[in-house]
């Protein structure tokens, strides 16, 4: 049992063949902002019962289009009263912390659900099911960001100083799950994982799953594959599930994900010996307000993590947006769970797509699509 970081020294000392004989499982980890996250909750029925159509949790709107007392709360949903301060991610963090949550719901009322309004408090203990379902998490690599304009920009890639005075990046690099199994040979639907400090599973391929980015050293050089994840909120911890307020952008949720990778053969051993110096990400210019942003450079994570990189002949300071420290903690924690026989590895029940490329949204008329 090794983490994806610990295994690097072993491979360097002994080579792939000897390391393969010694290593059964490599554990990975990542901890960063994952906006496409949220939670399903079931409140149980009140007396008299209500079919909740408009739902607010601590003043944050939750989805009312499911059955009577089911809901989904999305991480980025802003609260009505404090939209820049508090949102769905905070509700999720507060639930995991065991805090009481204010539930307000209303309904037109019906013969079978006569109640029209409810105003009460719930907690992780009082609700029935409470599980995280995140449609897009754990990105395999992600483009870094800079800003060539004259003013500071506040983006989902953080605070970008004018004239390319800083670069932000967001990946656990050599510790990241999908960079250690770049073609998803072992990670598939049903893979048992560490999620938010508790246990979860890979539910499906993540949205905008992309196998098309060019590869270097066996891994994609840009935002590529990602995973839809599911897991019981009970057992999760605010250490690994943390609400974020991304200034002038949105509320988001930092999610901790750890995936064990069984070393089935020497090819997997080689894949898990990927180093930050071998993983490259493009630096995109976020001053261009288009989905086609110019690429300013390709830079390795070893360089990003050094604190300064060379960009267009200038020395530029860098900031990581995801926490390498937490990624390491997660890989170590998962390793301990497996060593203590508290966590079993599973074989996936379905493979990830071999070829998939997200489509852009075209502005179309109804007739064009008929």
């Amino acid at each position: 049992m090794f983490t994806a970081e610990e295994v690097l020294d072993l491979v360097e000392d002994k080579g792939i063949d000897a390391a393969f004989e010694e290593v059964d499982v490599v554990t990975t980890g990542t901890f960063g902002a994952m906006c496409s996250s949220g939670a399903f909750l079931n409140f149980g029925h009140s007396e008299p019962p209500i079919r909740m159509a408009e739902i607010h949790l601590n003043d944050v709107q939750a989805y009312g289009g499911l059955a009577a007392v089911d809901t989904y709360i999305g991480a980025t949903q802003a609260s009505r009263s404090r939209p820049t301060e508090y949102g769905g991610a905070h509700v999720i963090e507060d639930l995991v912390a065991g805090k009481p949550i204010h539930l307000e719901a209303s309904s037109p009322g019906s013969d079978c659900y006569p109640r029209k309004e409810i105003d009460t408090y719930v907690s992780l203990e009082t609700v029935n099911e409470a599980y995280i379902y995140n449609p897009r998490n754990s990105y395999q690599n992600y483009a870094a960001a800079s800003n060539s304009s004259d003013k500071t920009l506040f983006t989902y890639m953080g605070k970008l100083l004018p004239k390319n005075r800083n670069i932000t990046f967001s990946s656990a690099g050599q510790l990241s799950p999908l960079l250690n199994d770049p073609h998803c040979r072992t990670i598939g639907v049903g893979t048992h994982i560490f999620l938010g400090g508790g246990e979860g599973y890979v539910a499906w391929q993540g949205t905008q799953f992309n196998t098309s980015p060019a590869e270097k050293n066996g891994v994609p050089t840009g935002s590529a594959r990602n995973l839809a994840l599911i897991g019981d909120m009970r057992g999760m911890s605010t250490e690994y599930l943390r609400a974020l307020n991304i200034h002038n952008y949105s509320i988001s949720l930092a999610v901790g994900v750890g995936i064990p990778i069984p070393i089935l053969d020497k090819e997997m051993m080689r894949a898990c010996s990927i180093r930050d110096e071998d993983i490259v990400a493009p630096v995109l210019d976020y001053s261009v307000g288009s989905s086609r942003r110019p690429v300013l450079a390709h830079i390795s994570y070893e360089q990003f993590r050094s604190g300064t990189v060379e960009l267009e002949g200038k020395s530029v300071r860098t900031s990581s947006l995801s926490s390498y420290k937490k990624a390491r903690d997660i890989a170590l924690e998962l390793k301990k769970w497996i060593e203590d026989k508290e966590f079993l590895l599973t074989e996936p029940v379905r493979s990830m797509p071999v070829s998939s490329k997200p489509k852009p949204l075209q502005i179309s008329t109804k007739e064009e699509l008929e």
Binding site: L161, N166, L244, N245, S319, S323
Partner: protein
């Protein structure tokens, strides 16, 4: 003994036109390093480092207080809520004073509050909202 201490000075409309920095240099042999200055309808304020003999700094303090200036030593004017910090590093590249340093052994982000110049740049970079500053 030469020391450097960080202070916040608050002025009222009765004393905000006093040439304080000049007096600090001339009379007390102090090197003031002004990090922030503001003036408003109720007076204003300065955030500055004072470098000099400890006894001179004390005398300068007494002089300023004699004018009615509120003198407050700032040990921790910017504070990090350790329970919120996730050690991501978003603050590192936006800090002009390089007060955030990544420890490359633990990968924790260390905050050197003595280097902080109270520019507030980190406040909008910190998405877990760990950095807090209440000055004025």
């Amino acid at each position: 003994m030469i020391t450097t201490k960080k202070y916040m000075l608050k002025f009222t409309t009765n004393n905000f036109q006093e040439p304080i920095s000049y007096e600090l240099v001339k009379r007390f042999n102090i090197v003031p390093n002004i990090m922030q200055a503001k003036v408003n309808e109720s007076g204003g304020g300065l955030i500055l480092d004072l470098r000099g003999e400890a006894t001179d700094i004390e005398d300068a303090k007494a002089y300023m207080e004699g004018l009615g200036v509120l003198v407050k030593e700032l040990e921790k004017h910017v504070d990090r809520d350790e329970s919120r910090c996730i050690h991501c590093g978003a603050c590192v590249s936006v800090c002009p004073a390089k007060a955030f340093v990544v420890n490359r052994r633990t990968w924790e982000v260390e905050f050197k509050s003595d280097l902080c110049i109270a520019c507030e740049s980190c406040l909008t970079a910190c998405s877990p909202r760990a950095m807090k500053m209440e000055l004025w």
